[in-house]
């Protein structure tokens, strides 16, 4: 959008930006992967179980409590 709203002050260099079209696939993929990791640490085998069992839950048990997620 209009990031030129504040007209560049003379003598102040333009701030570098990252092209959003280049960024989009990275953001999508890392976002998806990151949410998956967060799911396994925060919620798996509590309310939802993939795979079935309590192994993941027990392994990250203390982290789940300390990071503030609901636990048993």
């Amino acid at each position: 959008m209009s990031q030129t709203a504040a007209a560049p002050v003379i003598g102040v260099p333009e701030l570098p930006t990252v092209d959003l079209r280049e960024l989009a696939p990275w953001a999508f993929f890392v976002g998806l992967l990151g949410l998956l990791v967060i799911f396994f640490v925060s919620a798996d085998q509590g309310a939802v179980s993939i795979p079935a069992g309590t192994m993941v839950h027990e392994w990250v048990h203390d982290g789940r409590h300390l990071l503030g997620y609901p636990c048993h």
Partner: protein, 251 residues
């Protein structure tokens, strides 16, 4: 500057943050967790035959999942904090890449620090205020489904409201200037999460759990979360600053 530049530094910063928050969590968080488990076991001992009737399929120590308390408090906790750190590091770095140079005249370090700070408020601090962390022995296995749903719904509302607030601040800033725009957007975020917090059900399953252990646990939980986000912000801005300096030198 490319997405790749940001992502690599985000993952590295996340690793550092995960290790640092493990150190904090292990130091300040494990004593109250152990105290809570001792309370749970003391309560369960006289009523051992009722334990299975409560519907809780979750137990601590060797009985549950075959993972000992020692493993849970060391490798288990480290796995959780490092995985969380790396995941958040990657996400925060790519958001920082998206907003770099696009938040008024904030330089790279400033906009990146803002992403980490607002991320902490939106994803960890505000959800904590509505649905604070509970130690082991608190919380019934029967309500884990609804408690999990409330928590993540509230966290989602908070994060979406924060993103909307930043977009709003950018829009308003072009007309009224940065200061009133940021103040108004901040008030709008607080209004949205306050309404959501009042509208959503309250969870209280504390029973007669001792207040001192609860307080100690919650403070340690907040310290662990602060350590995670704080060190992520510092490590990422430090790494990006080095990148900026080296790229300026190369031009």
């Amino acid at each position: 500057m490319t997405a790749r530049n940001f992502l690599i530094r985000g993952l590295l910063a996340g690793l550092i943050a995960g290790l640092f928050s493990f150190a904090i969590g292990y130091t300040v968080g494990e004593p109250p967790i152990d105290a809570a488990i001792a309370i749970e076991e003391a309560a369960a001992a006289p009523a051992a035959d009722h334990a299975h009737e409560t519907g809780s399929d979750h137990e601590h120590g060797d009985e549950g999942g075959g993972i000992s308390r020692t493993i849970q408090s060391t490798w288990g906790l480290a796995t959780a904090t490092v995985a969380m750190g790396v995941a958040l590091g990657g996400i925060v770095a790519l958001i920082a890449a998206g907003v770099a140079g696009r938040l008024g005249r904030l330089p790279l370090v400033g906009s990146t620090a803002l992403v980490a700070g607002l991320g902490f408020v939106a994803y960890s601090l505000v959800p904590f205020l509505k649905y604070p962390a509970v130690p082991p022995a608190v919380g019934s296995g029967d309500t884990i489904g609804s408690r999990t749903a409330y928590y993540f719904l509230f966290a989602l509302i908070s994060v979406v409201a924060m993103v909307a607030a930043v977009v709003l601040a950018r829009r308003l800033a072009s007309g009224m200037g940065a200061y009133p725009a940021v103040v108004l957007a901040g008030i709008a975020y607080v209004a949205v999460v306050a309404v959501a917090a009042l509208a959503m059900p309250t969870v209280n399953e504390l029973g007669d759990f001792p207040a001192d252990v609860l307080w100690e646990f919650r403070v340690s939980s907040l310290l662990t979360l602060s350590a995670l986000w704080g060190s992520l912000g510092i490590a990422l801005t430090w790494l990006l600053r080095r990148l900026e300096v080296s790229q300026k030198a190369a031009v």
